[in-house]
């Protein structure tokens, strides 16, 4: 008969009551947390109690009855696969959401649809108004002041709008930069918080607690992090010894090369890469600044007390590949250990920089970085030297030679040295004194490692051991991350067609990515080219600026002798007291004549001289003696200021409203030039210097420039002479069309298409993310129907257990008080 104590059945009822009560508590907790973000529904883990052990006396008539129930655990119900899918989708949502947000802000400044009076746009309308004034100037305004003024006012309105747009984009860029920094800080905080949660959870786990709510909280943080970047979450185990294992959470970036962000109680932090700003402090040290491309570095994995974690250790050996012989590049000092500057190169050879013994031929000296290869016999060494010499190019052979020299410290060994006539002994000395590098960066993965060198004993002289310790620190490449942080960075840095070779090397798709800098730089091109073509069109005497030197005001420089300064000093300047212009041939060059010139010694000689235009056809007033009249200030008096056709012209636009400087114009500084704004300069109506008051052929030219196609290039080849954008390295223009088309059609539609596509993508991603959230909820979420049923179920079981206790009580009462008394 089984040994059940008299009061054992009470215990059974008690356990039933406990179990139901606990289950009701869990149900209550579930209901209470139904709206708690990230809460995972819990359920109890209940087991039937089997009384253990064997009875001392057994009988085959004996039978065992269970002892009630035990609540062994409270569990969370979670599907990790759904977590992964949800978080992947979150990174898509984050990436497109951030992108769309910046594109929408850009649209606020650049999208002209439905804006302005009668939906004509803003910049577009100002440009069209300006062209209207030029049309009027052409058809009816040549030679009339009021039309010139109207054009200037319209141009000024256009420039003001252009500058405002540029300033708006600059403001947006600054805001976006701040937003990126905040996002970066949030990411770092999230990573650190997850690490801290890991520390808490680990502690709980060590003491046997389940830490369910901490896990919920951690999941929330991970969900949050997954918006910022595409991550991979794995749950492993940490062996604490004695076969006691606890769970360990690891988070890495999801795409190759996977960077470890959190590894149990260790975590890494992101920072903006620091680069040399090009400036130095008072002591001459370079000042470091944030990388303008906002590339990120990942610091090494550290624990809560700042202790670092080594993720991997490697030992690298230098081995001579073709002979199988090991070699050493170290020289020995008197203690027998090796010293010097060792370098392990990509080809597997070890190179050393040091001053070597002289070969005896003073014109050849061992070269810095030359390979030193030791061989056991001279013929092998000679063969190697020959092979290396054969591999030299003819040009290299002139200065370089590989030679075999006996290895001084070990008889019977030979070394192959590289000798050069162009060896710089000072460099060698410096290199020899340099220390071995203690840190390296893996060229393929950007991962950082620390280097330790193993002392080489005499017997191992042909081997150099280099121990590398990886700590998780790395320089992230341009395209490594994905998610809102990367989108934010791309909108901050990507310049589309303006990407330079470095940008394209870092990101081959850079030319298709249009961040704020693309639009800003396109505005600069617009402003610069507009100013350049208009200024060129408005200058008569020397449209190509090839003949004269110009000062910063765009005026021809005058030399000490009072004559114009020519860019080509080889040609003697015929005395030009009137500072008139020259006769030009059909190619636009100054005509020359062979003139007979008296020499100082009384003889005559022939000289090539420029041909002057008829002095009477110049632009100045002449006095009776044929000299140019001067006003009170000493300036030449113009013949007739109203005859604009005679006007020599000048820059209409400048980079500074207080000057006439036509160089360095961009969208933020373009101005009406000082001369045009004060009326001393006018739009040149005729480019042929004909004295005709209403001739308009130059105005027609200007109209054609404004309404005709231009070719727009990405970078200026020449920063002077009006900065006309042409790029010899990139001979294809990035856009051909009118100025208005560049802004409204090219920039506008690029932005619009980007925004359109991104919005569609975001909608898709959001829908999928919603579906996945609901899927996840269907597993982990609390449902009121579910809990109501549980509540009823546990209420019934509780009542039943209580009833059981009453029954036993009655039974015992009968047994004790009512039996055999």
């Amino acid at each position: 008969m089984g040994t059940v104590s008299t009061f054992g059945t009470f215990t059974m009822a008690k356990l039933g009551i406990y179990a139901s009560q606990k289950a009701l508590n869990v149900t209550g907790n579930n209901i209470a947390n139904i709206n708690t973000t990230g809460y995972t529904r819990q359920e109890i883990d209940q087991r039937a109690l089997q009384m253990g052990g064997a009875d001392r006396y057994t009988s085959k008539m004996d039978m065992r009855i269970g002892g009630g129930t035990l609540v062994t655990n409270v569990n969370q119900i979670r599907d990790q696969y759904l977590d992964i899918r949800y978080r992947n989708q979150q990174s898509n949502v984050g990436a497109t959401d951030e992108r769309l947000s910046v594109l929408e802000q850009l649209s606020a400044y650049l999208d002209e649809v439905g804006s302005g009076e009668d939906d004509e746009g803003m910049l577009e309308a100002r440009y069209n108004e300006m062209v209207t004034q030029v049309e009027k100037l052409v058809a009816q305004g040549a030679g009339k002041d009021e039309y010139d003024t109207l054009f200037r006012s319209a141009a000024n309105a256009f420039l003001t709008q252009l500058k405002k747009t540029a300033a708006d984009l600059d403001g947006l860029q600054a805001d976006q930069e701040e937003s990126f920094r905040q996002d970066l800080e949030s990411v770092n905080n999230l990573i650190e918080s997850i690490r801290d949660m890991n520390v808490d959870i680990r502690k709980s786990n060590v003491y046997g607690s389940q830490s369910l709510l901490q896990q919920d909280e951690r999941n929330n943080l991970i969900d949050e992090l997954s918006k910022y970047m595409h991550i991979n979450v794995t749950y492993g185990e940490e062996d604490l010894g004695d076969d006691f294992k606890i769970p360990k959470l690891t988070i890495t970036t999801a795409d190759e090369p996977q960077r470890t962000l959190v590894d149990g109680v260790y975590c890494a932090q992101f920072s903006i890469r620091q680069v040399d700003s090009g400036e130095t402090d008072d002591e001459g040290n370079p000042i470091m600044a944030d990388d303008p491309n906002f590339n990120l570095d990942l610091a090494e994995l550290t624990g809560p007390r700042g202790q670092s974690m080594v993720t991997r250790e490697e030992t690298v050996e230098g081995v001579m590949g073709d002979t199988g012989e090991r070699y050493a590049s170290a020289s020995r000092d008197i203690t027998g250990s090796y010293t010097g500057d060792f370098k392990l190169a990509e080809d597997g050879n070890i190179y050393q920089a040091r001053s070597l013994r002289n070969s005896g031929e003073p014109d050849y000296t061992p070269m810095t970085g030359a390979a030193l290869v030791a061989y056991g016999n001279e013929s092998d060494a000679q063969a190697k030297a020959q092979e290396l010499n054969d591999a030299l190019t003819d040009e290299e052979k002139e200065t370089t030679e590989w030679r075999v020299v006996p290895y001084e410290d070990e008889e019977g060994y030979f070394e192959v040295h590289k000798f050069s006539t162009s060896f710089d002994s000072e460099d060698a000395a410096t290199a020899a004194a340099a220390n071995l590098p203690t840190e390296g960066i893996d060229e393929e993965t950007g991962e950082k490692y620390t280097i330790e060198y193993e002392p080489v004993e005499k017997d191992d002289k042909y081997q150099l051991n280099e121990a590398r310790s990886y700590t998780g620190a790395a320089e992230l490449s341009d395209t490594e991350l994905y998610g809102s942080l990367q989108s934010s960075r791309e909108m901050l840095t990507k310049s589309g067609v303006f990407s330079n070779a470095g940008d394209l090397a870092a990101d081959p798709n850079a030319s298709g990515k249009h961040g704020i800098p693309f639009y800003r730089q396109a505005l600069d091109v617009l402003a610069n080219q507009f100013a350049a073509v208009m200024n060129t069109a408005n200058q008569l005497s020397d449209p190509d600026k090839t003949i004269y030197e110009y000062d910063t005001d765009g005026k021809i420089k005058v030399g000490d002798d009072g004559t114009y300064v020519l860019t080509d000093p080889t040609k003697t300047l015929w005395s030009d007291p009137d500072k008139t212009v020259y006769e030009y041939d059909q190619d636009g060059n100054i005509k020359t004549i062979e003139a007979t010139i008296p020499n100082e010694d009384g003889t005559t000689g022939t000289e090539t001289l420029y041909v002057l235009r008829d002095p009477k056809q110049t632009i100045y007033e002449y006095d009776d003696d044929g000299n140019v009249k001067t006003d009170a200030a000493g300036a030449y008096v113009l013949k007739d200021a109203k005859h604009y056709g005679r006007y020599p012209g000048g820059p209409l636009f400048s980079s500074d409203g207080n000057s006439n400087n036509p160089d360095g114009i961009d969208a933020s500084n373009i101005c009406i030039s000082k001369e045009w704004s004060n009326g001393s300069l006018r739009v040149m109506t005729d480019d042929r210097q004909a004295e005709l008051s209403t001739s308009n052929n130059n105005l027609v030219h200007i109209l054609n420039l404004l309404t005709g196609d231009q070719q727009f290039y990405t970078s200026p080849a020449d920063s002077g002479a009006g900065d006309l954008k042409t790029d010899s390295a990139d001979s294809e223009p990035f856009f051909t069309g009118t100025f208005a088309e560049l802004f409204t059609n090219h920039m506008g539609s690029t932005l619009a298409n980007d925004r359109h596509v991104t919005a569609v993508m975001l909608n898709d991603y959001n829908t999928t993310a919603d579906d996945l959230y609901v899927d996840r909820e269907s597993v982990s979420g609390v449902d009121l129907n579910d809990e109501a049923i549980n509540m009823m179920m546990y209420q019934k079981s509780y009542s039943a257990a209580c009833r059981l206790m009453t029954v036993y009580d009655q039974l015992l009462d009968k047994l004790i008080n009512g039996t055999a008394v």
Binding site: I34, N35, L82, L103, S107, D111, E112, V113, G114, D119, E120, G121, E124, N128, V131, E135, K136, V138, A139, Q140, A142, G143, K144, A690, L692, S693, T694, S695, N696, N697, V700, H701, L703, T707, G708, A740, E741, T744, N745, G748, S749, L751, A752, N753, R755, H756, A759, N766, D770, Y773, E777, S778, V779, V782, D783, N785, D786, A788, M791, M792
Partner: protein
């Protein structure tokens, strides 16, 4: 994982997201009705927006071209009126028409003619009047001044020679005269696709050099080809005739008059031709103006077609969106809150 399990919060989340979408649709369709526009951002329809801007730009230019044409028509009409005065005579100044002069000259074909002296006076007046007419202005600009519109083109100098911008129209440098008459152009954009590489075919030349209208230089006999010059000289000769008999003051005068009469006939017919040509020019400009106005209307219509909504369509869409939104709201208030707990005692 149980795909059959639907949780309260899952339903709420779906509901919230769908309600937001429905509300967004309603808001978008309302915006369309309010603004009468098919799209309110470039991103909504990049291709249509881009096309609309191109059309709007063409419309701007068409308005400019209409204004340009209006100006040129007025300028040419002023010129035409002046020429009309010259050809048909000016009743206010009582100057004869060219036909009248020709008629009178033919009537005085004999050796005698009592009307010569008075005709001479009339011719002198006409010559002066012609020069004044040719110095007519439109606004600030001298109509017949070629490309030098700010300066009066014709003047009689102290020696009685007619000058055009200071150059004697008869004996001035032939090259200069030809250049002033033929090579001066002031092109304007009247919607022919102005292109500076081919202005003659893509723009309209608004320059009216007076020389071309009155004639310049000398013919094969060394005589002036300018009508006003011929008229003045002939007028002087006739004016010298005896007033009663009409006898010439000298034989030389008679010989000279015979030559001049013939030349004047030729010059007058050429001026008449120029007048007819100017009439054709004005007609062309007027028809071009009509064409531009048609283009303007067409462009306006095209822009409206691209940008403006079809009201029936837009309002129907808005009502449908409103209906969907209301239905979604009803779901929220009536159904969502229910669960088993609501029915438990």
């Amino acid at each position: 994982m149980s795909s059959f399990r639907v949780t309260s919060n899952g339903i709420f989340r779906n509901y919230r997201s769908n309600l937001m979408k429905s509300n967004k649709k309603l808001s978008d369709s309302m915006l369309r009705v309010e603004t009468h526009r098919n799209f309110n951002t470039y991103a909504e329809n990049p291709a249509a927006a881009s096309e609309a801007f191109q059309k709007r730009r063409s419309l701007w230019r068409t308005y400019d071209q209409i204004e340009n044409s209006d100006y040129i028509v007025s300028k040419f009409s002023t010129g035409w009126s002046a020429m009309e005065d010259i050809v048909d005579g000016d009743s206010t100044n009582d100057t004869p028409s060219l036909d009248g002069i020709a008629e009178q000259l033919r009537g005085l074909n004999g050796p005698t003619g009592s009307g010569r002296a008075s005709l001479g006076q009339s011719l002198l007046a006409k010559a002066d009047s012609i020069v004044k007419s040719m110095n007519v202005r439109y606004g600030d600009e001298f109509v017949f001044a070629g490309a030098d519109g700010m300066n009066a083109p014709f003047a009689w100098d102290d020696d009685g020679n007619l000058t055009y911008r200071g150059v004697d129209v008869t004996n001035g440098d032939a090259g200069t005269l030809k250049a002033m008459a033929q090579d001066e152009h002031t092109y304007a954009d009247i919607g022919l696709g102005i292109d500076e590489k081919d202005l003659a075919n893509t723009a309209y030349d608004t320059a009216l050099p007076g020389l071309r209208f009155l004639g310049y230089g000398t013919d094969e006999d060394g005589e002036s080809k300018n009508m006003a010059v011929l008229m003045r000289e002939l007028g002087e000769i006739f004016y010298r005739c005896e007033s009663d008999t009409g006898y010439f003051a000298s034989d030389e005068d008679e010989a000279r008059a015979n030559v001049l009469v013939e030349k004047l006939h030729t010059a007058m017919s050429q001026v008449s031709e120029q007048h007819v040509k100017l009439t054709a020019d004005v007609n062309y400009l007027n028809s071009n103006l009509k064409q531009l106005n048609t283009t303007k209307d067409t462009l306006n219509e095209q822009i409206e077609n691209i940008e403006q909504i079809d009201p029936a369509d837009a309002i129907t869409s808005m009502l449908w969106a409103q209906y969907s939104y209301n239905a979604a709201l009803r779901i929220g208030t009536n159904i969502l809150s229910q669960s088993l707990i609501d029915y438990m005692n």
